[in-house]
Amino acid sequence: MVGGPQTHRLSNGGLIDRSAPLSFRFDGKTFVGYQGDTLASALVANGVKLVGRSFKYHRPRGILTAGSEEPNALVELRTGARREPNTKATTAELYEGLEAASQNRWPSLRHDFMAVNQLFAPIFVAGFYYKTFMWPAKFWEAIYEPAIRRAAGLGRAAGIADPDHYDKAWAHCDVLIAGSGPAGLAAALAAGRSGARVILCEEDFALGGRLLADGGTIDRLPAADWISRTLAELAALPDIRIMTRTTLFGVYDGGTHGAIERVNDHLPSPPEQQVRQRLWRIVAKRCVVAAGAIERPIVFAGNDTPGVMMASAMRTYVTRYAATPARRVALFTNNEDGWRTVETALDAGLQIAAVIDARAEVSPAHRSLASKGGFTVLNGSVSGVEGGKDGVKKISVSMTGGARAEVEADGLAVSGGWNPAVGLTSYHRGRPKWRGDIAAFVPDGAPPGMVAAGAANGDFGLGACLREGFAAGASAARDAGRNRKAGAAPVAEDEAYSLTPLWHVAGKGKAFVDYQHDVTASDVELAQREGFESVEHLKRYTTLGMATDQGKTSNIAGLAIMAAVSGKSIPETGTTIYRPPYVPVAIGAFAGHHRDETFHATRLTPSHHWAVEQGAVFVDTGLWKRAQWYPRAGEKDWLDSVTREVKAVRGGVGFCDVSTLGKIDVHGPDAGAFLDRVYINTFSNLAVGKARYGLMLREDGLVYDDGTTSRLAEDHYFLTTTTAKAGLVMQHLEFCRQVLFPELDVQLTSVSDQWAQFSIAGPKTRDLLKEIVDPAEDLSNEGFPFMGAREVALRGGIKARLFRISFSGEMAFEISVPARYGEALVRNLMLAGKQFGVTPYGTEALGVMRVEKGHVAGPELNGTTTAADLGLGKMMSTKKDFIGRVMAGREALVAPDRQVVVGIKPTDKARRLRSGAHIIPKGQTPGPDNDQGYVTSVCFSPTLDQWIGLGLVERGRERIGEIVHAHDPLRGEDYDVELCNPVFYDPDGGRQRG
């Protein structure tokens, strides 16, 4: 076996598997622990006391707790791409080969150079940085801030892509239970017996909560036996799901809860096909929070010395892990519960140095325990601890009455009482309420359907936890409609819990409130002095409670000290707002599989795989992959390919997959009337067998979308939208149909995916179509005129829809076939068109031809343009109401100096035009007052053999022929351009009509 002996491991006991030794490394040194250990318990068992350095002062720190509230023992776990900063050693399960390193120290944990910060501690008080580092101003980014940044932060992120996978899932239940301590298990029993569907989440890998460390007798059984019996009963019930390694971290509206399951963090890496962690969205009718309580420290000088540990944590290490944090233990307590640690330590054969009890009275039973155990009980408080990297050496005690005493010990257990875990119950901004008898906040104003039980509700006795948990489980089940008899609750005795509140012991030296952020009692006092009295100001000014533990061990003590110095009560002082997640959750888990190529879904056109075969280059358009161009051998860049494609269309025939357009079937007797209301122009008078371009506005009068709509039957229109707006237009039309115009008899369905649609364009279009369309169909200009639309038969028997519309300005048709024929259609077009040199073209060539033709598209339909801006103002009907009609008439929207669509071409034909260049009057120096518009769309026009574009330019259409300046400082370009007719190609439309 590698590594030394486990010097601090008891020879028997504990919930560890001694037959499964595991070797692990901490800061490069090899140790051995057991299956069932956490990293922290294994370090304890190996006598390691120093595990980290604090945030600001780099003080040596040890292990304070045994749970997810740990503020000190944070490590970098794993190495390489799997390195996880700020991992709590107290919750990290040990596995064979585990590697961990301490953080925030250089060059080593024992010899940390940054510990010099402690010398500057008198200056580094709360908020000191707000008062300095201001001169000279330039020094902030250059010097001060980088230094602060390097010093701040704790661990280092891996810096390379996370190799593990995550997923997300949904679960549903009647009763959700957080925590598997006595209250949680009792709640599960009651709810399960009542017939409820139950999910119980436990963040630990073992079930039982505090029972695992504190034991007890339930139903006359030892706690461990009771747990086994209970789990067996739960397993026999039909709908109980127990999820270990799962933390309920948040509660959201409608009974949705967030939970994180650490599926494989207890292994070196996830097994094949498995995820590291899974994010659960659990929908529950009721939730019982049995998340227990967190023992709180007492603030005294040197309370951060390694070896100072929460009393309950010390019990956990000794009982559950058979590991001894110290050999000679002192206890500092203000309550009865702390004394349990003495009993545990004595049972384990440890020495008790002394008990320092801040209360006036110690029970006779404990007095006799002291005399039996041979230790003294000091009535007073710990005022200081001596020691350092190697742990506690000496403890100074201020006795009640003023005397002082010293105690030699190598460990100090501290119990300041217990704070119920009020996180979950407070996440809907409910404020917990103060309970004087336990000097703690308990849940109040919990989210709907949520209730706390047991220690989480401030009732700490075992008997009470069982009773309350059981009652809460039964009533939650009842509320969820499950009424079977729950039977009897488990029974146990209630222990006494008498407490005298004690938050802060005055003394010399730094006394820490927030360990991780190095916030001391005097920082809290300073904050008060400077007016940061509100607890939220206190938090923000001192950073109290903002560390990775979110102040689980520090917040209440901080506000108690603030209350004391400001002369208010604790409830008057109040708490800060509780924020989810309850424990920090990996960002990867929230993302699930939505990363890399699967970040978003991908939509594929019917010809996609064929285009892949052709070697097409694809472009992302929304979720779509569209063929952008089809490179051919010998072409040196995209422009070569696109130019070839455009020329092939203009000179012959080409086709392009336009299936991405939104397609909507509009049915019903009132379909025409409906379209009249959503478009600015009229559709009710469109003849069957004809198509028409339409433009729709938003209700605010600005252009929303455009497209061609055809009338296929008296009561059936086929509407198309732009690719970008397909879903939104459908939503808008449904709103019009269902909400605005319910009196109209009209039905809408998306048929976007039903039809594969291709544009076939070029002078040889008709020749190509004749090859593929049934010879009986009349495709002549008379038989199928421009803007005609009808169903035709294709050779081979299938039906298609043919629309004589043109985006390119050429003689063109769009053809639709049912989508599963899409690929066959493409192949047939290639086959039939070979003789005509048919050329598939992509979205770039499509774009070139639409710019040449002056058609507006996305860059011009940008949500701020009017119909008139686009040159389509005359389409606005004056004979009917339509969406956007009234608001479109506002003064600024009809002002004569608006920027309107115009053509733009460089005066130097060799010059490349770029989108985003601004238009400035010629001869003027560019400035905000003469910025008259910008170039919206550009292309290299093979037809004109130069770059051309469209722009939105002030009074553009009145200025055709004017030479202006294209100003593009981003790209360092300035050149003259001419404003021109936006229709560069075939302005009278002869080609598309021919």
Binding site: E84, P85, N86, P122, I123, V125, K131, T132, M134, W135, A137, A152, L154, G155, A157, A161, D162, D164, K168, T256, R429, R529, E530, S534, H537, R540, M546, A547, T548, Q550, I577, P581, P584, V585, A586, G588, F590, G592, R595, D596, E597, T598, F599, H600, V619, D620, D700, G701, L702, G858, G863, L893, S915, G916, A917, H918, T936, S937, P969, L970
Partner: protein, 417 residues
């Protein structure tokens, strides 16, 4: 007491016992020349500019809770002036210039950190839109650079360039953009304004307006009694509609929740502020080391100051898509602020139709970066009764006139801005 390293060192010698309150704890007087409702960044900045720039020192700032308890204390601390439309461009640059001298103006370190803001683009269309915007900035004398893929790769080699669903193609960079310490901005203005005589009154909730016979506002009713005022200015983002309603006004504003998130503190990882162009996600790293994330608003009217899971997931999906190295970094805290979403996504700074009542509202989620600029132009309006020249387009009647300032082109649907 002037703050400096020397005063700090002196104070250290006396155990920091001699520091005074950062701002005076004032009790309300009967009457002020100007009462500002809202002790957030905008309200406090307005008060400071009134006192320092316009010589109006008989000013009270009324805050219903603790100063900075609204959006000033729950934003993602980003400052930038990369806006593209007339009205916004000049105003946000005015604000940026004020950020650049804030610490010296206020004698308070607000940690203005100009580490750059980059908007990544993933398509030609986005590039063109950024080119248009960047050129607008340059024409207005604002720094802007259009980076290509190689330049982005050099600056941020850790982004997912190889197997992204929407690969990064470049970015629009404003080097002068960055972050500031949000709470310190509030405290700094409070500190400086208080020193000039402004009364900062916390735990003082406005419950109504007092009006004279002509309907002119003469003061406010508060939880601490009636306070008279020559003029009343509202700077209560998130609550604008509710406060305005007390004066009988309806506003073109909806209240929406915007969430933000911070990770555990880690050693320096990210250079500046990054905005993902293929999803709804932006991020920067705080001085303390936490990655600060934001995304889209939740999308429905809310005053609840807390968000729901879908947006949280959406933001993390964006984060992982852009930089899969953050998978094992843990999210520490989630919170929500209430945004004053206006109908065009741009703010409103104007006199209201009620005499004596002035509006500063509708900041959507751009309010933090506007803080100093908003303070100056609102103070100008309150002091001179005419808009500051950089706020002339933020008039309330622009919606009636059709002169919206709609950067996103989404129209009168606030949840899309």
């Amino acid at each position: 007491m002037k703050y400096s390293i020397f005063s700090l060192a002196r104070a250290a010698l006396s155990g920091h016992k001699n520091w005074q309150r950062t701002w005076r704890d004032a009790t309300p007087k009967d009457r002020y020349d100007v009462v500002i409702i809202g002790g957030g960044g905008h309200g406090l900045a307005t008060a400071w500019f009134l006192a320092s720039e316009f010589g109006i020192k008989n000013v009270a700032v009324l805050e219903k809770g603790w100063i900075g308890s609204g959006n000033a204390g729950r934003n993602t601390t980003i400052i930038r002036s990369n806006y593209g439309l007339p009205g916004n461009t000049g105003f946000y640059e005015l604000s940026m210039k004020l950020w650049e001298r804030m610490e010296q103006d206020l004698n308070y370190n607000t940690m203005v950190s100009q580490r750059g803001v980059i908007n990544l683009y993933h398509s030609d269309a986005q590039r063109d839109a950024y080119a248009r915007r960047g050129n607008t900035m340059r024409i207005n004398g604002i720094d802007a650079e259009l980076l290509d893929l190689a330049a982005v790769r050099k600056m941020m080699p850790f982004l997912n360039f190889d197997n992204a669903r929407f690969p990064v193609q470049g970015g629009l960079l404003q080097r002068r953009g960055g972050t500031a310490r949000h709470d310190a901005v509030v405290w700094g203005y409070a500190h400086a304004a208080s020193a000039l005589g402004v009364d900062i009154i916390q735990n003082c909730e406005v419950t109504g307006f007092t009006r004279d016979a002509n309907g002119k506002v003469t003061g406010v009713e508060t939880s601490r009694g009636r306070i008279g005022a020559g003029k009343v200015g509202m700077a209560v983002a998130g609550s604008s509609s509710r406060v305005a309603a007390m004066a009988g006004l309806r506003l073109p504003i909806e209240s929406h929740v915007l969430q933000a998130f911070v990770s555990e503190a880690i050693k320096p990882l990210l250079p500046g502020v990054m905005t993902f162009g293929a999803g709804h996600f932006y991020v920067s790293q705080s001085d303390k080391g936490g990655l600060v994330f934001g995304g889209d608003i939740d999308g429905y009217n809310s005053y609840a100051q807390r968000g729901n899971l879908p947006v949280m997931e959406d933001v993390c999906e964006g984060g992982m898509a852009l930089m899969p190295m953050i998978g094992r970094v843990r999210l520490l805290r989630q919170w929500g602020g209430i945004m004053d979403m206006s109908m065009d996504g741009s703010p409103i700074i104007d006199k209201s139709s009620v005499d004596g009542l002035y509006l500063n509202a509708g900041w959507c989620y751009g309010g933090f970066k506007a803080t100093p600029g908003s303070g100056l132009v609102f103070a100008h309006l309150l002091a001179r009764d005419t808009p500051h020249k950089e706020a002339e387009k933020f008039r309330l009647d622009r919606f009636q006139r059709g002169a919206m300032i709609d950067e996103k082109g989404q129209g009168a649907q606030p949840n899309l801005h």
